[in-house]
């Protein structure tokens, strides 16, 4: 149930991983419940987001993860990122793990873009000098120009996400966990993001990409994992996995080619 940090950089292991979430509007428990020692009756039963999932990914692999809404894709990424613990099983990612789960989340809105780069870098365990080394590249990548000195509160949503991606893309990841965030900015910027991810893969990073965009997965991943109802139902080459996925989804039409 603990997060294993002894793996080789870029290696990912999930063993018999299971995780359930209780579905409640108010997420905290009240003291009364604790003192009475029982949970509120009624409400939906816990959702089993991952059921006995085992997965071993070698350094440098590129893995796409697909499935219906609620199949457990995002939960798997959060578990891999070490943000949510498992109920049972083992999980671990080796080396620097960079998760692009909520780009720009946690930006201090009154801080300038530049200050947020430092805060976000620090959040991922970087020290001042390491961030300074990357500062120019991040600013250039974000295409924010002079806006980098303006408070983030004044940014458009596109600028916000661009800065978020630019930071995450320059953290020297051994493992990249990406969740549906490539719809960042305009088409030109999206291409730039894809190119940047390809660069990181070429440099040896492991990629786990969750997306509903089949053609994006075909372009960037070699291996496909299909999840359904929290279970792994397919694990293999993308070429074989995509037809399986489309049959599962009931969309038998041929895969859109890029």
């Amino acid at each position: 149930m603990t997060y294993d940090e002894s793996l080789r950089p870029g290696e990912i292991v999930l063993e018999h991983a299971s995780r359930a979430f209780s579905v409640r509007a108010d997420r905290g428990r009240t003291l009364k419940e604790m003192l009475i020692g029982r949970k509120r009756a009624g409400g939906p039963a816990p959702v089993q987001a991952m059921r006995d999932v085992s997965l071993r990914i070698e350094p440098g692999e590129t893995v796409g993860m697909v499935g219906r809404n609620g199949a457990g894709k995002s939960s798997s990424l959060r578990v891999l990122a070490g943000i949510v613990p498992l109920n049972s099983g083992r999980v671990g990612c080796g080396g620097q793990v960079v998760s692009q789960l909520e780009l720009g989340a946690g930006f201090g809105r009154d801080f300038s873009g530049r200050e947020n780069i430092f805060l976000n870098g620090a959040l991922h365990g970087l020290v001042k000098e390491q961030i300074e080394e990357r500062l120019e590249a991040i600013i250039a990548f974000s295409e924010l120009g002079d806006f980098i000195e303006a408070p983030v509160a004044t940014y458009s949503s596109g600028m916000f996400l661009r800065l978020g991606f630019a930071i995450a893309a320059h953290l020297d990841a051994d493992v990249l966990l990406i969740d549906e965030v490539l719809a960042v900015g305009d088409e030109a910027f999206q291409r730039k993001c894809e190119a940047r991810i390809a660069e990181q893969i070429a440099a040896g990073a492991t990629l786990v990409l969750v997306s509903h965009d089949a053609s994006l997965i075909e372009r960037t991943c070699r291996r496909l994992v299909v999840l359904d109802g929290g279970r792994k139902v397919f694990d293999g080459p993308v070429a074989e996995g995509m037809p399986f996925y489309h049959r599962l989804m009931g969309t038998a039409e041929p895969v859109a080619s890029s």
Binding site: T30, V97, S99, G106, F111, L123, H124
Partner: protein, 254 residues
């Protein structure tokens, strides 16, 4: 300490965000306690002057400044994990940094107030003594004690949202039962009551020890010093352990 830089950034964030857009900015951190101290000084030092202690206003202010630190730190630590929920859901970093940075910001305020108050008190009272050398040590113990409480309170509040309201209700009577306006021995002859006021209230020995050093110019009693050290160690270790045990589900509950 790979995350020292993150801690530094979080402290800055805390300092900047709380009073954003206000003309006085971080000065509010000093103004609030100063106003509170001024009000209590007026109330109990002038209007209801008991005059049981010489230079009563100074007696009162030294105790009050310790209480304000305790009160502010605990009350701002309680909701801190919920406030930073987005960061907790986004990245993996030691969650202790959040309450620790909140308490550290309050520590800075507290030290500024002490730096203001101590020289005045020592000059007026003429209490410059080698005992003063104990001050940094006692303050460090106080910080450890409050940090331990902050760990416990913040993690408990993340799971049980009643914790902060209960605390804010408890802190008011607690304030009047603490030896800020009086010495326990000067308001009661009863041994049990004195014992309770002096030793059951965990903040009382800290107030007593700091007052001994600054206002009294004497070394605190051995039992008091022992209490201050042992309580700091126990609360810090216990609070941190509780935090560690409960922090797993944080990203789910905040």
């Amino acid at each position: 300490m790979a995350h020292r830089y993150l801690f530094e950034q979080m402290v800055r964030r805390e300092l900047r965000q709380k009073y954003r857009g206000s003309a006085l900015g971080v000065l509010w951190y000093l103004i609030n306690p100063l106003v509170l101290m001024g009000a209590y000084y007026l109330m109990f030092g002038v209007i209801f002057d008991q005059a049981s202690e010489p230079d009563y206003p100074l007696f009162l202010l030294v105790g009050l400044v310790v209480w304000v630190f305790f009160n502010q730190a605990v009350m701002s630590a309680a909701p801190s994990l919920l406030d930073q929920g987005v960061l907790i859901r986004k990245a993996r970093f030691p969650r202790e940094i959040i309450p620790a940075s909140v308490v550290s910001v309050q520590l800075v305020t507290f030290l500024a107030l002490i730096a203001l108050l101590a020289p005045i008190t020592i000059a007026i009272r003429g209490t410059l003594d080698v005992a003063l050398l104990l001050l940094p040590f006692v303050l460090a113990c106080l910080f450890a004690f409050i940090l331990g409480l902050a760990f416990a309170v913040s993690i408990l509040h993340a799971y049980f949202r009643d914790v902060a309201p209960i605390l804010s209700a408890a802190l008011l009577p607690w304030f009047f039962l603490s030896p800020i306006f009086f010495r326990p021995q000067s308001i009661t002859e009863q041994a049990t009551a004195r014992f309770v006021l002096e030793w059951v209230n965990p903040i009382a020995p800290y107030i007593g020890a700091i007052r001994d050093v600054i206002y009294g110019g004497v070394v605190p009693s051995a039992p008091q010093l022992t209490y201050v050290v042992v309580m700091a160690a126990v609360v810090l270790a216990g609070g941190h352990r509780l935090f560690r045990r409960l922090q797993g589900e944080l990203a789910v509950v905040v």
